[in-house]
């Protein structure tokens, strides 16, 4: 078990709950989702409690995240898209905090499970479709009809565009989940090399130096990936929301 790089992703029931034959158990995934929400809320509420005109360090950090996401959203959707700000900001904070919790040793990484990233991606795409249909009625479908295409091949193009649109939640969820999964497995494997080599005696200890450095470097890289993937999810969400706001291709 010690060297099994997959073991960290196993779901364990902490409090078994079953209602009418359906499993509602409180698992380690649930625990870390609760921790994520608690962590994000604590960060934002506690850091903005002072409401200083001259922000403290914590307040400044909270304001930076706010400004950052607000700017991202505004740049890709215009001021009109700011109505989605609470949604995009919540997604960003949830993913960021979940990724960062996952950086603690022995902690569970919520975003390394495709069920969770998939649920978020489906939420995004349902919001895009729902809002697009509500705002533009039938006009939303011109998203699938690019202009300047000969009539002969238009049906093919439309089908391809629809497929491309439907594959968005898939690529959105795969990207986040694959990044977190691959990163954590790599980290675990390299860390496993260190212990395995070090147990071989003096030469092994020498040989373990390289993977040890690799582990340190990978940890830094993982922190980068944790923040970057949260940002990528947020910016892609805003790009998709932009399609709902301005469907003309």
């Amino acid at each position: 078990m010690a060297y099994d790089p997959i073991h960290q992703f196993q779901i364990q029931k902490l409090i078994p709950i079953e209602v009418g034959g359906v499993d509602f158990s409180f698992t380690n995934a649930s625990l870390f989702m609760v921790l994520t929400v608690a962590g994000a809320s604590a960060f934002l509420i506690l850091s903005t409690r002072g409401r200083g005109l001259v922000p403290s360090r914590w307040q400044s950090a909270a304001e930076l995240t706010y400004e950052f996401i607000a700017q991202t959203l505004r740049e890709s959707t215009g001021s009109d898209g700011m109505r989605f700000f609470p949604f995009v900001f919540s997604l960003f904070m949830f993913i960021l905090v979940a990724n960062l919790w996952g950086m603690f040793p022995y902690f569970f990484t919520v975003t390394s499970h495709i069920v969770i990233t998939g649920a978020m991606a489906v939420m995004v795409i349902l919001m895009v479709v729902g809002f697009g249909l509500w705002r533009h009625k039938f006009g939303f479908f011109q998203l699938f009809v690019p202009r300047g295409v000969p009539v002969v091949i238009l049906p093919f193009i439309v089908v391809i565009e629809i497929l491309s649109f439907l594959s968005r939640p898939l690529s959105l969820s795969i990207r986040l989940f694959a990044n977190m999964l691959a990163g954590h497995i790599t980290l675990k494997v390299f860390a496993g090399f260190v212990t395995a080599l070090a147990s071989l005696g003096a030469i092994g200890v020498l040989g373990a130096i390289l993977p040890l450095f690799a582990t340190v470097a990978l940890t830094a890289l993982e922190f980068l990936v944790a923040a970057l993937q949260a940002y990528v999810f947020a910016i892609l969400t805003s790009l998709y929301l932009n399609d709902a706001l301005h469907p003309s291709h």
């Binding site: 505004r74 740049e75 890709s76 959707t77 215009g78 001021s79 009109d80 898209g81 533009h136 006009g139 690019p146 202009r147 300047g148 093919f156 089908v159 391809i160 565009e161 497929l163 491309s164 439907l166 594959s167 968005r168 898939l170 690529s171 795969i174 990207r175 694959a178 990044n179 990936v225 970057l228 990528v232 910016i235 892609l236 790009l239 932009n242 706001l245 301005h246 469907p247 003309s248 291709h249």
Partner: protein, 124 residues
């Protein structure tokens, strides 16, 4: 410290003038900001995905491409199951999914501009 409080007369006047000046400056700033906002709205750049270093870009393009192919295959397989048209649904939709995957990847690489520069002033 004390002599600042000692002469209230002129400082009240100055405060008043300062207030008016400040209000004017605020208005000017507001106008400037409005200008900026309007510019931002008109150029609300469609696919402003920023350039990122290789690894992240590679994973991103791979995910985009794979998503298209997987979705096409899944749709085709599902249609075959429903309509009993095996294997034609899988064949056709896998190819269409492949095309959609390429489209995804090209779009997120920024190689594809959204449509020709036509009359882009539809309400929306």
């Amino acid at each position: 410290m004390d002599d600042r409080n000692a002469k209230p007369g002129p400082s009240v006047d100055r405060d008043d003038r300062d207030d008016r000046e400040l209000a004017e400056r605020l208005h000017a700033l507001e106008r400037e900001l409005d200008k900026g906002r309007a510019a931002r709205d008109t150029e609300a750049s469609r696919d402003a995905a920023p350039a990122r270093p290789g690894m992240a870009l590679g994973l991103r393009l791979a995910a985009d491409f794979v998503a298209g192919v997987v979705l096409g295959a899944a749709l085709g397989w599902g249609l075959d199951r429903l309509l009993g048209t095996s294997p034609w649904g899988l064949v056709v939709f896998l190819l269409l999914g492949f095309a959609a995957g390429i489209l995804n990847a090209m779009r997120s690489a920024g190689l594809l501009k959204p449509g020709p520069p036509g009359p882009d002033d539809r309400p929306g």
